[in-house]
């Protein structure tokens, strides 16, 4: 990959002080711990932030695309208005897998029709990434799908050095944020290269799927590969893989009256193409026949249909679905089987 040069570095101490300063103007969400579990959540002080990454159950997509979100408000006498709820947010410590997820989600929600709810939240946010120096656990496979480095999705990226972080600024929003809140010092210029050399000593041993770039065509031709039935026949159709996925963005829409029957809301919530009812039409017909076909659909979104459009594997290899799946189904296993066939 190309070598980036950093203009600025910041000490860990100044970084945390800067984040505390932002709390006046922004909500801050970061990696933190609750009952010994790592999660991305809102914090009220930088002391709650964990810098050592441990995989979270849910991806940080929830800050831009909440599990449940009101999109319209209306009254029984017919007043109706769009509801767009976006507050200034600093998202701190997002890793390359999830940043690549943010890139995909931005593109998906902006494609053809600009989704007001997602894009308004994104506009109000400053995303600060932290690059990974090591592979987080046995289930993650970012390096198999070209996702160990962030292709986008951030305003500022931090690269961990011995005592400092080198800063890469990726947007005007990021530059303004650094100028206003962070006490930095001038970089020598080779910090990111030093970081990347260290990263390569761990990640460099791991090779991506050998035909990764050709996955859309290969998956297009692999509809009848035995791996689909082999994995799909175990699927419990619970949809957990989708709830935890940083790049699944399908949703359902429902209407609800409040108890007074005077005000109502239209709400969108996460939905799951792995659940049977997802594709059922009014007459009860369903053109996606069974769990194997549903798995085929979901994985083809990641490595075929959407990969063509976004120019990157839409599975970012975070490993969350692998950890969540009770039937031990993994996109990595499926992709490896299909990749292997191509010699």
């Amino acid at each position: 990959m190309s070598t980036k040069t950093s203009e600025l570095v910041i000490t860990k101490d100044n970084l945390f002080k800067g984040l505390d300063k932002t709390l006046i103007d922004y909500q801050v969400a970061a990696l933190t711990k609750k009952s010994e579990r790592s999660l991305f959540d809102y914090v009220t002080s930088s002391s709650e932030i964990k810098l050592e990454y441990q995989p979270t159950v849910l991806s940080p997509k929830k800050f831009f695309f909440p599990q449940e979100e009101v999109i319209l408000e209306y009254t029984s006498d017919g007043k109706i208005s769009a509801k767009i709820d976006a507050k200034p947010l600093v998202l701190f410590g997002i890793r390359p897998c999830d940043l690549n997820g943010f890139k995909v989600l931005y593109e998906a929600f902006a494609d053809d029709h600009g989704d007001p709810n997602y894009l308004a939240k994104l506009e109000q946010s400053v995303v600060i990434g932290i690059d990974c120096k090591k592979i987080c656990d046995k289930d993650s496979f970012c390096f198999k799908v070209g996702s160990q480095n962030a292709l986008g999705g951030f305003d500022i990226m931090l690269y961990e050095l011995d005592n400092d972080y080198a800063i890469e600024i990726a947007s005007e929003k990021g530059r303004k944020f650094v100028d206003k809140y962070l006490t930095t010092s001038k970089a020598r210029g080779d910090e990111i290269a030093t970081f990347q050399a260290e990263k390569a000593s761990c990640f460099g041993k791991e090779k991506p799927f050998k035909n990764l770039e050709k996955f859309p065509e290969i998956f297009e031709q692999s509809t009848y590969h035995p791996v689909w039935e082999q994995e799909g026949s175990r699927c419990l159709s619970c949809g957990s893989c989708i709830m935890v996925c940083p790049t699944c963005y399908c949703f359902d829409i429902k209407d609800e009256w409040q108890l007074n029957l005077k005000q109502g809301e239209r709400i969108r919530n996460w939905d799951a193409c792995m659940v049977r009812s997802f594709a059922t039409i009014g007459s009860g017909e369903n053109f996606r026949h069974g769990a194997t076909a549903r798995l085929h659909h979901r994985i083809n979104r990641k490595f075929n249909y959407l990969m063509k459009k976004h120019g990157q594997a839409v599975c970012v290899g975070c490993g969350r679905c692998v950890r969540a799946c009770l039937a031990e189904i993994s996109p990595k296993t499926i992709a490896a089987a299909i990749d292997g066939e191509q010699g």
């Binding site: 894009l119 359902d252 429902k254 209407d255 009014g282």
Partner: protein
Amino acid sequence: MKNKLNLQEKNPNLYLPERAKILKIRSFSDKEKFFEFELLDRKTSGHLPGQFFQVSILGIGEAPISITSPPSNNNRFEMSVRTIGDVTTKLHTLNVGDIVYVRGPFGNGFTEATTNRMLNKHLLFIMGGIGYFPLRSLLNKVVPEREKYKKISILYGCKTPKERMYPEELAELAKIGGNVELLETVDRIEGDWKGNCGVITTLIPKVDFDPSNTIAVIVGPPIMYKFVLKSLLEKNMPKENIYMDMERRMKCGVGKCGHCQMGGIYVCQEGPVFNYAEVEKNEELF
């Protein structure tokens, strides 16, 4: 399949529907009703044949419903609706003067390029049951300008005679004569039905058509497509001369929510009108 991104700024009104007042209602049967609506907040419906609106009833939900009237320059449009889910069932309880909300029109519809292909050709409409509804817009566009087409053959099949939709309109179509012909069949004879009995494919041999100079448009229940396609292909109809209007569960109408996907295709964006040659290999077509 669409393979390029087309990034847009946010549209604050993407999910905000507009008011439409019910002007007319009539029942075809216990399950199907006809509605005429007037858009109160704009001057034209701006739709193409084959497009749909997302129809909202506040507190109940939103459902994709085909527009059955031909394109026009005013703010009125028609729909015919079978009670099948929450929104359609509630819609059937509404009265003239009541307000519903709509977003759209959505979908590709029969675009100008597609309708231009139809000029001077023999058009074969193949409609099953309420497949009449999504095709009626196109039908009522081409029939009044029938001199532009070699011939218009309308093949309509229903389960029973009382399930025939728009019976008066069918009577009118039967009377036109000239280059417009209507052939009907029912699966089961009831009452004093004197016409054909049998599935819709039994009508295809009764039409005299030159497959290479004919464009077929098919809409009906999912089971119908396979058999109609088989009959047409046996007659050597070129695949690119066959159009189908597909039903899927469009929830958002703007290519995001994923419900309507047919393989990689968002039917609400790239459909619901498809040329058979372009989708014949799609695994989730039927």
